[in-house]
Symmetry: C2
Subunit: 403 residues, 2 copies
Amino acid sequence: MKRDIDVDSAQKLILENVCQLPAERCHIMQAFGRILAESVLAERDLPPESKSAVDGFALGDESAQMNCRFHLTGFVRAGEYPGTAVHSGEAMGVVTGGCLPSGTRSVIMHEKTAVEANSITVLEEVKPYQNIKQAGEDYHQGEVLLPPGTFLHSGHIALLAAFGHSDILVYRRPKVAILSLGKNIMKCSQKLEPGQIWDSNSPMLAALLHQAGCELTSIDLESRKDSQELPVYLDAAACSADSVILTGGTYAGSQSEARQLLDSVQARMIYWGTDSQPGSHNGFALIGSVPVFALSGNPAACAVGFTLFVLPAVRHMQGINPDPKKVRARCTNSFNKGANSRRYIRGRARCSDQGWTVTVLPGQKPSMIRSLISCNALIEVAPGSPPLEAGASVNIILLEEAD
Amino acid sequence: MKRDIDVDSAQKLILENVCQLPAERCHIMQAFGRILAESVLAERDLPPESKSAVDGFALGDESAQMNCRFHLTGFVRAGEYPGTAVHSGEAMGVVTGGCLPSGTRSVIMHEKTAVEANSITVLEEVKPYQNIKQAGEDYHQGEVLLPPGTFLHSGHIALLAAFGHSDILVYRRPKVAILSLGKNIMKCSQKLEPGQIWDSNSPMLAALLHQAGCELTSIDLESRKDSQELPVYLDAAACSADSVILTGGTYAGSQSEARQLLDSVQARMIYWGTDSQPGSHNGFALIGSVPVFALSGNPAACAVGFTLFVLPAVRHMQGINPDPKKVRARCTNSFNKGANSRRYIRGRARCSDQGWTVTVLPGQKPSMIRSLISCNALIEVAPGSPPLEAGASVNIILLEEAD
């Protein structure tokens, strides 16, 4: 077991011990937010055949002078497929988005014609292939439509559907169990005795996991407050989940509740402690091959620990690049503490006229929740750095939509 | 019924005809992404009582010189509530995050003491209230924690849980039905005959609705391809859903499939046609009080129509500000078409050193899907504008996370 390692080494050890999950099929109507597990090729052109871009007439000639007359041989209505071709000197009525008869060389808008019983006269010069949506103008047969690892949003889903994919191969969502330690930590539906506090980390982690595309396995906090039941619970969680998060009980090193619990189930400790603030008291272990994260019980430290250690793991499990989005930003205010180890300051990032800016949020103690309310970025401060001055250029990790 | 109105007027008419949905209770573990329907006050201080910030000793004195000795009267272990007070000249062992005995005036770290059987000696000067997390230092009793309309993310959920809220009052998710018109539009699980195409709009709209916090009511495309069954289907959809989206069949004005269908169920048309591109052929109607949107069948026009007309409505239903996030951006490339009516160009927005930039994406025909793949912004071009030049300053609507 390694001790008090730096964050980069911890992340490396985690990724070495986490596997991509198997793929599964997902219906296209439920595919939003899933991660594509295969490369998808265009099996044909899109659109597959040429179509009219306007309501008007398909002409059998590439071009025609003004006042030229065409014999009207029929109409192709919306949704119809033309059985007959159009030849030189002939016209056939067509609708916007509708199929064109074979032999079509150009299409003229209805408004640019004079229509009689069996003929039309064009009132504007006709140019080759005008008003035709060409087959393959959007995508060509054989193109790679989407690579594996694509986070499927509405545009991707439209594209897959347009090529007839109704069941999509996606990575399975990681199933994660949460176990909040500490005898004085009560479910927020319970009444408190003096000295007890409500568990805010389990609901917070549930939200973070949901946002990261994970599913929560059921937890039952009341039924296992007896610490003798905790190893049974943890073993069961490791059997049914792809990963387990412990929160709380990480202080006091090997005497901590989290360490003792992990030892009691013969978990293999990979590391304990990282050289970072907040949340230096954290660890990573394996129960069999199931990764278990022990995060600080302090809310802000727990949230930072999730971002640094759990998020890369569950992203990797789903076939996505585990690295967060990092940018340089200008700090708009100061922070009066230096950093002994690498410090993660909660901030609010915005795009300004000079690029990214970030504002240090109030309430930076690890035990406080306040900074998490507006937090959309972590300011990463190197060990040995002096207090942060307004105007300083800093590295930030972007957590979500930043304005 | 109004005809060919501008987008702002259309949005105003829509919001006048859409109601906020009733609130419902949601468990805190499922609250991510829900919209808070009430103002939540701090019913007590957070933390409710003072706590130790370190493992060490609670002292009955505000200050002490180095080498000063304290009588050790006991220990408060993790999760314990101290029954006895600490007095001047006395010390009591405490743990990080643990409760402090009444009378505590300061806390000294374990490492800064020499511990004997019944006493400790401080090895560093003690300052008033050092290492104490004060009651209320995060939130004070009576503070407004969160206002109604808050989109609940992990930080908000931690805060609500920390105050013991296990069931949260949130707005009900809008239930929306989708009906894709057009006889040649087939479900993407079906085999195609010549001239038929797969329905990409229903899956795309399902994704957009999911992203906007809506629930989809079930649709069955196969069972109602006979146009005589469409009015029955639409009536049923309007009975079970909070809103209905029709897509396709909007061309040809009053002769269009969408208009005829709406007329057949005695829908009250509010407007038909907007002075905008793409997707000028669109409309808004009421079946009873249920809002029905008729969007273009062209994929890009359908997506733009969703953003302009459906999104404000379903946001308003959920108690959120319906207005999208608009910023000024510098266009990095050109677009060779001017705008007769207000034009919405699909773009990719990024935060650069000079602020927001936006790049016009390839594939801007309304019938194409390509521009939607990377689209995270709509460039809003005023009627009568010339073609867009690289470097121009433009208004953009931000659709999602922009980099």
